[in-house]
């Protein structure tokens, strides 16, 4: 690299042009999505069918909730790796609390009635977020490593409680949301769309949503402006945990059981989707909509590769190549350097 820099922040360009570019940042994956769509269409007539597209949509739901959670947390300038374990451990703990203590293949302690399964699951997620928040904000531990430790610990807790089994006998109420269809479209898609909409609106139009950007952009400045930085960060971590737990509910319904490896290894995808979707790892930047395009990109890549019948041995390689290519396209589409 030559040491010649651009002149940053010298001349305030005749307003308008630069701002527009910044606004387009969130759309920088749209060209990638279009390219994928064209390839998909070329590769198989099955691509552009409602069935296939709804399928892609539904497969994206659980991941997208984690991405929503991570996007909020990243915008506020933090990280949470443990989301990938929360999606598994929260449902397992909920089951353990509600399922009867005998008779099933997996026995719980039957402490609560069955209908409380979903609220309990969400509460566990919230609790996990609160616990992370405590370690990060009160004990001032490094968030990356805390949640990395949390990832291992929670996954281990899930294995210990479920004894490594998949839990098949989940109450129907618990599985309903992940498996039902409303108006011909999976319920999970409706719900995710709603949550993304809510998240997007909150970030765009609510004071506390905007506070996330301020905190992520410069926590000290945010504090000086009267924003309760720690409290809001904590709330965001709790919301993140809750969303991950809710993703666990959808997952369970979608795949018919709580599998022991639920969410295993997803955190990479979560980060990939969030960051190629334009959310900055350093906080203060990005939108919910961008994150959504990130998830859809990743999901479409898998779909198109399956349709194209890529030989299994080359599958993973191509997947990696496509992530990098997507990154390059979006970088040049947005015209911004990514740091």
């Amino acid at each position: 690299m030559s040491p010649t820099t651009e002149l940053s922040g010298t001349v305030p360009a005749p307003t308008g042009r630069r701002i527009d570019l910044a606004r387009f940042r969130d759309l920088s994956l749209v060209p990638v999505l279009l390219v994928l769509g064209v390839i998909g269409f070329a590769v198989s007539p099955a691509f552009l069918t409602t069935d296939n597209l709804l399928g892609v949509g539904q497969q994206a739901t659980e991941l997208s909730l984690l991405v929503l959670a991570e996007a909020l947390i990243l915008i506020a300038g933090r990280m949470d790796l443990s989301l990938e374990s929360t999606i598994g451990v929260a449902p397992v703990i909920a089951m353990w609390l509600v399922l009867p203590d005998h008779g099933g293949r997996f026995n719980g302690i039957g402490l609560f009635p069955t209908w409380t399964a979903i609220p309990l699951c969400l509460a566990v997620g919230a609790l996990i977020g609160a616990f992370n928040g405590f370690l990060i904000l009160k004990l001032r531990l490094n968030g990356f490593i805390v949640t990395l430790g949390g990832l291992t610990m929670l996954r281990g807790l899930q294995v210990a409680i479920s004894q490594g089994q998949s839990i098949v006998n989940v109450p129907t109420s618990f599985g309903y949301l992940g498996s039902a269809s409303w108006l011909g479209v999976p319920a999970a898609i409706w719900i995710c769309a709603l949550l993304f909409l809510l998240g997007g609106c909150a970030l765009a139009w609510l004071r506390h949503g905007r506070a996330l950007y301020a905190i992520g952009g410069n926590a000290e400045a945010a504090r000086a402006a009267g924003i309760r930085v720690d409290r809001i960060t904590w709330v965001v971590l709790i919301i993140g945990g809750t969303l991950a737990a809710f993703a666990g509910v959808l997952y369970t319904g979608h795949y018919g059981s709580i599998s022991a490896g639920q969410g295993n290894g997803w955190i990479f995808q979560v980060f990939a989707a969030t960051v190629i979707g334009g959310v900055s790892l350093n906080g203060g930047r990005g939108t919910i909509f961008g994150a959504l395009t990130g998830v859809l990109t990743l999901q479409l890549v898998v779909n198109v590769m399956t349709l194209a019948g890529v030989p299994p041995l080359w599958n993973q390689f191509l997947n990696g190549v496509i992530i990098i290519v997507a990154l390059i396209i979006s970088r040049f589409a947005s015209g911004e350097k990514q740091e």
């Binding site: 040491p3 002149l7 922040g9 010298t10 305030p12 630069r18 004071r207 905007r210 400045a221 945010a222």
Partner: protein
């Protein structure tokens, strides 16, 4: 005034950071409607007091009352903000957000659940900025503004809270003459409405211009509080430094020097950076201090940065001691003997978490040991010499540089530039945020560089900085428009920087003693 109790009354305030005592049993009282100055050397504890008065930090000991009532709870920043607004020394602008949002951060709406009306917010922002004559689009990202524009956003924000008490911690450090003018006009207007100020500055003439009362801190302690009129500049400096101040004329004054003669050491021919400055030429001789004056948008700073190799010019050449310098590369400039003091020490000057020693020797790591090694002993010795030479106030060379006060940090940056013993020292705003005493010594250092047969180029819009120069060139809109030898008057230079100069003034001697 119905309520005679002071807007703020702090007593017995102590605060320490690890081993550093920032404030020791300090006090301050600001009466309603009063314009109160707080002065002191770098590291005297002024900013620490500010962060305590604004609720960002809690004092270790002491009491704090606003309008006779106890201060709000520590976390309740909103309540603090209702009592006191502040322009902090360190920028609190969030670059990724728009100007409008920065102005109304956390006050977008009244209720937490009420949606933000962006259009209205932007028009309110535009109105607010217009009051200060700042011409920026409220929808622009704050990161794209110039330093000065950002400072105005910051000021506009603080003043718009409607607080009856406003603290300004070195608000003028980032403004040019016209900006300061506008700020003062605004402050006087508010003062007329009965708003009280606590004003911190290292420019004592600003204190005399604006304030009624002055409080002096030294070494974390309260020294005195007195009406400004009763304290002349000598006495004030004496209170700040604790030393008997000597003669009136600083040692470095360019006043009666004879113009240096001899071969030019630095020659710049026809240098151009598109959109910033064009065909700028200058020459500086050995022994000469050359000033490059210009306001924010004149391009003088980028010109200085180009000499240091930070930008690659489109056209032109740079020659040091007769040898052409490869442009656009910092190592080449360094090797050619150009030393550089960057504009913003936080962005380009310091590695915050590394030690003073390491920062001060960053440019000379090749001289601190054989075979590409850097010996800690030599580094320490080198740094200790710099600390003594430049009078840097630090617990030791191994202290993290971020724990120093701003003025001392600036000295570390200068140390770094001087470490290479440069033929040509290019210093952009070298005394930015530095107290009056340190300013003397820093400018004295620059003068010494020239006196030892080398040359220095001071790029600045501060008249104090420029007074040390043998010759001053003024830039306006990317061109060098005027040249002054010593003896210029402030008005001449300021109007040249504002582009209101007849070329006739160039090179004419207006010898006036000051």
């Amino acid at each position: 005034m119905a309520d005679p109790s002071p807007v703020v009354e702090a007593d017995g305030i102590s605060k320490r950071f690890g081993a550093t005592v920032a404030l020791r049993d300090a006090r301050i009282t600001v009466a309603p409607g009063e314009s109160h100055a707080l002065v002191g050397r770098n590291g005297a504890g002024k900013s620490t007091l500010v962060s305590i008065l604004t609720g960002l930090q809690q004092p270790d000991t002491g009491t704090l009352r606003f309008n006779g009532e106890p201060a709000p709870a520590p976390g309740d920043i909103d309540a603090w903000r209702a009592r006191v607004a502040c322009v902090y020394q360190r920028s609190t602008i969030i670059p990724a957000l728009s100007v409008a949002e920065n102005l109304f951060l956390n006050r977008h709406t009244n209720g937490g659940l009420r949606p933000i009306r962006w259009r209205e917010l932007r028009s309110r922002a535009a109105d607010l900025l217009a009051e200060y004559g700042v011409d920026v689009d409220p929808a622009a990202r704050a990161g794209q503004l110039t330093v000065e524009q950002r400072q105005f956003v910051e000021i506009a924000r603080a003043l718009s809270f409607g607080a009856r008490f406003i603290i300004l911690d070195e608000p003028t450090a980032k403004l040019d003459a016209r900006g300061i003018e506008r700020l003062f006009a605004k402050l006087r207007e508010l003062q007329g409405q009965g708003v009280a100020f606590l004003f911190i500055s290292h420019h004592l003439q600003e204190v005399y211009e604006l304030c009624d009362t002055v409080t002096v801190y030294r070494d974390a302690r309260h020294i005195l509080t007195a009406p400004v009129v009763e304290l002349d500049q000598h006495a004030m400096v004496e209170a700040m430094t604790g030393e008997q101040s000597k003669g009136t004329e600083p040692a470095w004054s360019a006043g009666e020097r004879s113009a240096p003669v001899g071969e030019p050491l630095l020659e710049v021919a026809d240098l151009g950076l598109p959109g910033v400055y064009e065909s700028c030429s200058l020459a500086a001789r050995a022994g000469e201090v050359l000033g490059l004056a210009g306001s924010a948008a004149s391009g003088n700073i980028q010109f200085g940065e180009t000499l240091a190799g930070l930008h690659r010019p489109r056209s032109g050449t740079v020659t040091v001691a007769g040898r052409a310098v490869r442009t656009g590369r910092v190592p080449a400039s360094l090797a050619a003997g150009i030393g550089f003091v960057p504009e913003d020490r936080h962005i380009q000057g310091l590695i915050p978490q590394r030690s003073v020693a390491e920062n001060a020797t960053l440019t000379v790591t090749d001289q601190l040991g054989p075979f590409g090694t850097v010996l800690p002993s030599r580094t320490r010795v080198f740094a200790e010499r710099m600390i003594t030479d430049l009078d840097i106030k630090t617990p030791g060379p191994a202290t993290e540089v971020s724990a120093l006060s701003g003025g001392n940090q600036q000295k570390v940056v200068i140390a770094r530039a001087l470490a290479t013993e440069p033929q040509v020292l290019v210093a952009v705003k070298p005394t930015n945020g530095v107290d009056i005493k340190s300013k003397e010594s820093l400018l004295g250092t620059v003068r010494q560089v020239a006196d030892s047969g080398r040359t220095a180029l001071i790029v600045s819009d501060e008249l104090d900085d420029l007074r040390v120069c043998d010759r001053v060139l003024a830039m306006f809109h990317g061109r060098i428009v005027a040249e002054f030898t010593h003896g210029w008057t402030d008005e001449q230079l300021v109007s040249a920087m504002e582009g209101m100069t007849g070329t006739t003034e160039t090179k004419e001697d207006h010898v006036t003693d000051h």
